[in-house]
């Protein structure tokens, strides 16, 4: 047990995230989607009518809670700092393509772990792709990839995303008719607002304190032989698995998994792999997975805020131009978008590698 002690916070955070995910699904969220940062940002993009896919429109209180919970914990811990100016446009573009990759697979790295814990075998191809992408990202880090440093920014910069989320929450509870709400499909499956908000606040606060990050876990294990963050990853999986077994929701297999396509038909496994490969590389370049970007944005990073805005616009494009997969499978437009995303991400990676003494 003494060996686990330095990892206590990240393990506790992982267990809470996993338990909250199972609970939120039991309370009404879609299957294996207690949390999904990509899907929920996509739902929010639909809720504010940036896209009009009728099945995925809802301003998710989980996201609002995560951002505000992270902000509260950062303020309490004296870690809230308005900083930015480190390659904002490249970060926007990477955020955009993180979303393209995630909506090809149908989940962010966090939902990938949650899907695995629910028995969804299709997520194995996502995990393989994600790990390969993170590994590819670490090669660039070793070659000197850097977006250069961030600088202090006016206070308002750091409070931008929390402020946007407060406005979204007000519109959600009091904005009669302003926002769009799905009447069927995943966007219509919702845990009660208060439960979702509280779960988000708790997860946001804990993840800020423990630095939980899906991409960081694999990255540090490969790059530094440091398994600290990977413990959080494992804890989420364990909590989701046990929670699903207790509630009788565990269902192992590939076919008919909730909000997922069968990877064993028509070469779809390749696209699940490539989608998460894109997410893996781009997340390493950004310095963290979508969850971590939300947490950093809540802690005052305007660079992370720009990445989140990129993800939001990316989500709108995914549904306006038919990139996003569905339970029926992937789309040809999505295949093109993922390939373009991988090429653009590699160009960004190559062009930001500095020489050793730069």
């Amino acid at each position: 047990m003494a060996k686990l002690k330095p990892h206590l916070w990240v393990i506790v955070t992982g267990l809470v995230v996993g338990a909250a995910a199972v609970l939120l699904t039991a309370l009404g969220n879609p299957g294996n989607m207690g949390f999904c940062i990509a899907c929920f940002i996509r739902d929010i993009a639909g809720g504010v009518k940036m896209h009009t896919a009728p099945v995925v429109q809802y301003v998710r209180p989980e996201i609002i809670g995560i951002v505000l919970g992270a902000m509260a914990m950062a303020l309490i811990g004296g870690e809230f700092k308005s900083k930015g100016g480190s390659a904002p446009v490249s970060r926007f573009v990477l955020g955009f393509f993180v979303m393209v990759g995630a909506l090809m697979f149908l989940g962010c790295p966090l939902r990938m772990v949650i899907r695995l814990g629910g028995g969804d075998g299709n997520a194995l191809f996502g995990l393989l792709g994600f790990a390969a992408g993170v590994w590819c990202g670490t090669i660039f880090l070793n070659k000197g990839f850097s977006f250069k440093r961030a600088y202090n920014m006016p206070k308002l910069e750091g409070y931008a995303l929390p402020a946007i989320n407060v406005v979204l929450f007000v519109l959600l509870v009091a904005g009669a008719g302003v926002l769009a709400f799905s009447e069927k499909g995943p966007g219509s499956m919702r845990a009660p607002v208060i439960a979702a908000l509280v779960a988000g606040l708790v997860v946001g606060a804990l993840a800020q304190k423990s630095r939980l990050c899906m991409a960081g876990g694999i990255r540090d294990a490969i790059l530094l032989k440091d398994f600290h963050l990977l413990w959080g990853f494992i804890a989420i999986f364990a909590a989701v698995l046990v929670g699903n077994l207790i509630l009788g929701k565990f269902k192992a297999g590939f076919d008919g998994q909730p909000v997922a396509f069968n990877t064993l038909v028509s070469g779809n496994f390749l696209w699940a792999f490539l989608g998460m490969f894109l997410v893996g590389v781009a997340s390493v370049l950004l310095g963290g997975c979508p969850l971590r970007q939300l947490i950093l944005a809540g802690s005052g990073s305007s660079d992370a805020t720009v990445a989140v805005l990129g993800m939001t616009v990316g989500a709108a494009f995914c549904h306006n131009f038919g990139f996003a997969s569905s339970g029926d499978g992937t789309t040809a437009n999505g295949h093109i978008a993922v390939i373009v995303g991988i090429i653009v991400t590699l160009i960004i990676a190559f062009t930001n590698c500095q020489k050793a003494d730069d």
Binding site: P6, G77, G78, E79, K81, K83, S86, L141, N142, S146, F147, R149, A150, Y151, R211, G216, R219, D220, L223, L224, K225, D226, H228, G287, G288, S301, D303, A356
Partner: protein
């Protein structure tokens, strides 16, 4: 004494900069950071690598980590 100025860099950059400095010149190395996350990460990395690590709070959220 090698000095690494990792202020403003997002993780894992400060850790990689520290790792490279240690590989190139060996200890001692001092690392300047301006956030708690890189402070924790650089400390964890150097401790795991077998070095003696301490830090000074320079105020204004900046820390000087010394690795011996």
């Amino acid at each position: 004494m090698t000095k690494v100025d990792a202020r403003g860099y997002a993780c894992p950059q400060p850790v990689i900069m520290t790792k490279k400095a240690l590989e190139k010149n060996g200890a001692p190395v001092t690392v300047l950071v301006d956030d708690n996350a890189p402070l924790e990460n650089v400390t964890r990395y150097a401790t795991n690598a077998g070095f003696k690590v301490s830090h000074k709070d320079l105020g204004g959220g900046e820390f000087e980590i010394s690795i011996k």
